[in-house]
């Protein structure tokens, strides 16, 4: 592991970092509860991965592309996506930019170059290579960053993405959050490779394993990889070693496959606690300040939830929109039939 020492950013900025991490954690806690209360259909928590996500997001510039999986809520927050837009997607309501088409956590925000996520594991990794290639072709100095898990390193498109990026020296920063688990499969059963980072060797570019629970290490590694990519030296694979403290999703019960002792050991390495202790230690923040910060983010979330719950579902005929730019006649027939059904009361939106 590459250990990096000392703060990576000035203290006022680190306070913002801490707040973003705390916001991500607090959204998580609320959403897990909302799901249990039946107010949200489903939720994928990121608890434990805040430093990895905020650290990587913080190191990127405005024009950079993010190709997320489904766990990247704190990346979206770091990119500046307003919390209400995120909540609207979770609720699939009429304010959802994706028009209620996807399960919770499958966000897409064009204005933030945060590409629409899908469920199939790994497919976004190669998209980042195409985006990076296209950006360079058009003369933009930006990178593309696919986010993926340890499990995804076994997927087809991890291979295609790594291989293509190497061949074309595409400005890509491959960001793997090794959170130790792919649902119930532990990291050591995913691959016999000694690390995930070492896989980069076979593709001809560097792979680095870093402490993914240390904001500074993540931030520095991504900055470095980004600079390298923009110098035309090609991609880097970053393996951020972290831990998924919660269940895989609200449909999962991790007690079936992992021990309380393991969880406890990782809880002692909590990324938020770690940054907080550092800032308190340097006198940048008091325990009371942190409490205030927590209250602020909870209030922010509360009002966003209230707003999201006021919104209704997307308009019924919108299920026929956006399949094609120019839809074929059979779909137009179905839309007309549907509108008649609504008129006749056969279906009640």
């Amino acid at each position: 592991m590459v250990e990096m020492q000392g703060p990576s950013l000035p203290d006022p900025e680190l306070l913002k970092v801490l707040r973003t991490m705390a916001l991500g954690r607090a959204v998580d806690e609320r959403c897990m509860n909302l799901q249990r209360q039946g107010r949200l259909g489903f939720y994928v928590p990121l608890e434990g991965q805040e430093a990895a996500q905020v650290g990587c997001g913080w190191a990127l510039e405005k024009g950079d592309w993010v190709c997320p999986a489904y766990r990247e809520l704190a990346v979206a927050l770091t990119r500046g996506v307003p919390l209400p837009l995120i909540l609207n997607q979770l609720y699939g309501n009429e304010g959802d930019l994706s028009k209620g088409r996807q399960m919770p956590n499958h966000y897409g925000f064009r204005d933030y170059r945060f590409v629409s996520a899908s469920s199939p594991i790994g497919t976004q990794i190669i998209h980042a290579v195409g985006l990076a290639y296209a950006s360079r072709y058009k003369g933009e100095k930006v990178v593309a960053v696919p986010f993926f898990g340890d499990g995804a390193t076994s997927s087809t498109d991890f291979h295609s993405g790594m291989n293509f990026a190497g061949v074309y020296k595409a400005p890509v920063v491959f960001f793997c959050q090794n959170n130790q688990w792919a649902i119930s499969l532990p990291r050591e059963k995913q691959t016999l490779s000694s690390t995930l980072a070492v896989k980069a060797n076979a593709y001809g570019f560097p792979g680095v394993q870093i402490d993914g629970n240390d904001f500074h290490s993540v931030y520095r590694a991504v900055r470095e990889a980004r600079a390298r990519a923009l110098r035309g030296e090609g991609p880097t694979l970053i393996e951020a070693v972290t831990y998924r403290m919660g269940p895989h999703s609200t449909s999962d019960d991790p007690r079936r496959y992992r021990t309380p002792a393991e969880l406890a050991a990782w809880k002692s390495r909590d990324p938020i606690e770690r940054l907080k202790v550092e800032l308190v230690g340097r006198g940048v923040l008091s325990e009371a300040d942190f409490e205030t910060m927590q209250e602020e983010v909870r209030a922010e979330i509360q009002s966003a939830i209230q707003e999201a719950e006021k919104l209704g579902p997307p308009a019924a005929p919108s299920i026929f929109d956006d399949v094609w730019q120019n839809p074929p006649p059979n779909l137009e027939d179905q839309r007309r039939e549907f509108e008649e059904f609504v008129k006749e009361g056969v279906v009640r939106p």
């Binding site: 190669i126 980042a128 195409g130 072709y137 061949v167």
Partner: protein
Amino acid sequence: MTELTLIQGVNQALHQAMKKDPDVLCLGEDIGVNGGVFRATDGLQKEFGEQRVLDTPLNESGIVGMAVGMALYGLKPVAEIQFLDFIYPAFDQIVSELAKLRYRSGGQFPAHVVIRTPYGGGIRGGLYHSQSTEQLFASTPGLKVVIPSTPADAKGLLLTAIFDEDPVLFMEPKRIYRTATGEVPDGDHRVPFGKARIVREGTDVSVFAYGAMVPTAFQACQVLEKTGIHAELIDLRTLVPLDIDAVVRSVEKTGRAVIVHEAPKFCGFGAELAAILAEKALYSLKAPIARVTGYDTPFPYTLENLYLPSVDRIGRAIQRTVTAG
């Protein structure tokens, strides 16, 4: 107008599209230096350079996935899959990503990729260089499926595909790459999607075909003409969007339908055509609908000519349909 082969029509469309718009890029296996194993991309890399004509590693999921990324940016990539038979590693990228991006993002992230791929039998290619599996793609919402049968359509439909806004699977009938010849307009020739072509008019029976089956079905119609049967032959050109009006109108006129394709019969595209006719033209039908297709087996090697719909098999089906009922 210039007399070209079908593959020259493809090549000319690619040249003209790349010349017209710097956002058009081509990528695929062996398409650059080698000009493609069938030479469809001959001369492109020389003219437009390696930045725009990419020889890719051997990975179909990578080719389509990379094209999706380029299209997300706003480029107009044209990906080549060397044979339709090798598209399955990319099936996930096509079905889960390419076809769904516009919908799943509420219109925020459309991805317009054209995938060109040679398909079909009759070239002694065995199981893995011969298949026609258009139905797998035609039943995927969000994709367009286009199959030309003439050089002019190859050029005109491909240019339309490249400057369309939806993802297109462009299937090229490789058996007639060089045997289909004809006059092709020299300029920016565009053939609209969703407009079937009446290859020959007739009054007794409607024959529906596409791609490499069009010339075979045409021959069958010509033979039958001598026996007094006036068959109408319709080249569908685009399966998605389908020219439903043209299909229904023809059968309303003739009262009889014969559907021809190379793909296996069971759940083939002909099943959709037959269902449409049952829904929209049942009272015009004077005889059962006939389908002349490949068999419900994998594609054979030595006996491929027995597998593929032939002039005789199509002719017999037409004759029976005309005399039935």
